[in-house]
Amino acid sequence: MATTYELIASTTLGSTTTGIYFGSIPQTYDDLVVVVSSRSNQTGGFSDLNILFNTTSTTPGVTGYSQRHLQGSGSAASSATLSNYAVNAIQPAAGNTTSTYGSTEFYIPNYTGSSNKSVSFTCVHETNDTTAYIRAGAALWSNTSAITAISIFGSSLADFVSGTSAHLYGITKA
């Protein structure tokens, strides 16, 4: 039987790096899953984790992206919308518990189709503190092009630390 949840590419950083890029994504699957374990060297208690499609850019603030997300901090829940930025999650930063990485999963269905591309994601911020974030989001890239590349990066002010990893999987339906 054909493998349906298949690893396409994987990167684990051995040093501080601005971003992780998956290019030349095969167009032979139905959906994509990106699993990220990450930490930023940005000063403070959390940092952005962003993805953009079909570009090598590591700069957010791109038109054509919108999202809505739920977020909990451990003491409060909130919701927010974001537009013309990137698919935006959160990760631990330099002010959080050391040697601790956040976990994020992005699910991208029908990535080769001719509709606008939607993303479902869940991220956890991870720190031993009274404030730690979980974010659940739905994002939209208003572009009908097939996704051939994914750029994963943090805040424009900072980089990923060594040990950050990202894995790209392809899913094939029946």
Binding site: M1, T3, T4, Y5, D30, D31, S66, Q67, R68, H69, L70, A77, S79, T81, Y107, P109, N110, S115, N116, S118, V119, S120, T122, A136, G137, A138, A139, L140, I171, T172, K173, A174
Partner: protein, 163 residues
């Protein structure tokens, strides 16, 4: 290497449909995963998408929903909320994990991750008070209203095996 995440069946609607059914689901996996891209035909549904298992229409379902403006609890319903309000203009995503679906010692539960950037996101936990193995899943775009799933909506069912 043993395959642990296997496609069971998929459907892509070539026309609108009031419901979508997966039947004769084999009992050989541990969990099921249902992945959907869905859109509604009519005026935006105000009651959200629902499901029934094994065509059970009794008052055997309950759910808790966290969504972007609050939380909802439902109980003793004749179908269970599985999706949020389904939009008409864009496709919403849903990833539903149905745990221990073939275990005849437990009632059946699922977790649904649902969202569309323009209309809202939901996280839903649902319960079917039956110990029967799930062999059929029927999905509806509403809670008994006239809306249907729009053409182009896709539904993919996967089986997941534990170690």
């Amino acid at each position: 290497m043993a395959t642990t995440y296997e496609p069971i069946a998929s459907q892509t609607l070539g026309a609108s449909a009031a419901s979508v059914t997966f039947s004769s689901i084999p009992g050989t996996y541990t969990d099921l995963v249902l992945v959907c891209m869905i859109k509604s035909t009519g005026a935006a549904s105000s009651s959200g998408g629902t499901a029934r298992f094994n065509t059970d229409s009794g008052s055997n379902y309950s759910h808790t929903i966290l969504y972007d403006v609050g939380s909802i609890r439902g109980a003793n319903n004749d179908r269970v909320r599985m999706f949020g309000d389904i939009p008409t203009g864009a496709f919403a995503n849903a990833i539903v994990q149905i745990m221990s679906y073939a275990n005849t010692n437990v009632n059946k539960t699922f977790l649904s991750n649902y969202g569309e950037a323009g209309s809202g996101i939901s996280r839903i936990v649902g319960l079917w008070r039956s110990t029967a193995a799930i062999t059929t899943v029927t999905l509806y775009s509403n809670d008994g209203g006239a809306d249907s799933f729009a053409s182009g909506s896709t539904f993919s069912l996967y089986g997941v095996k534990a170690a």
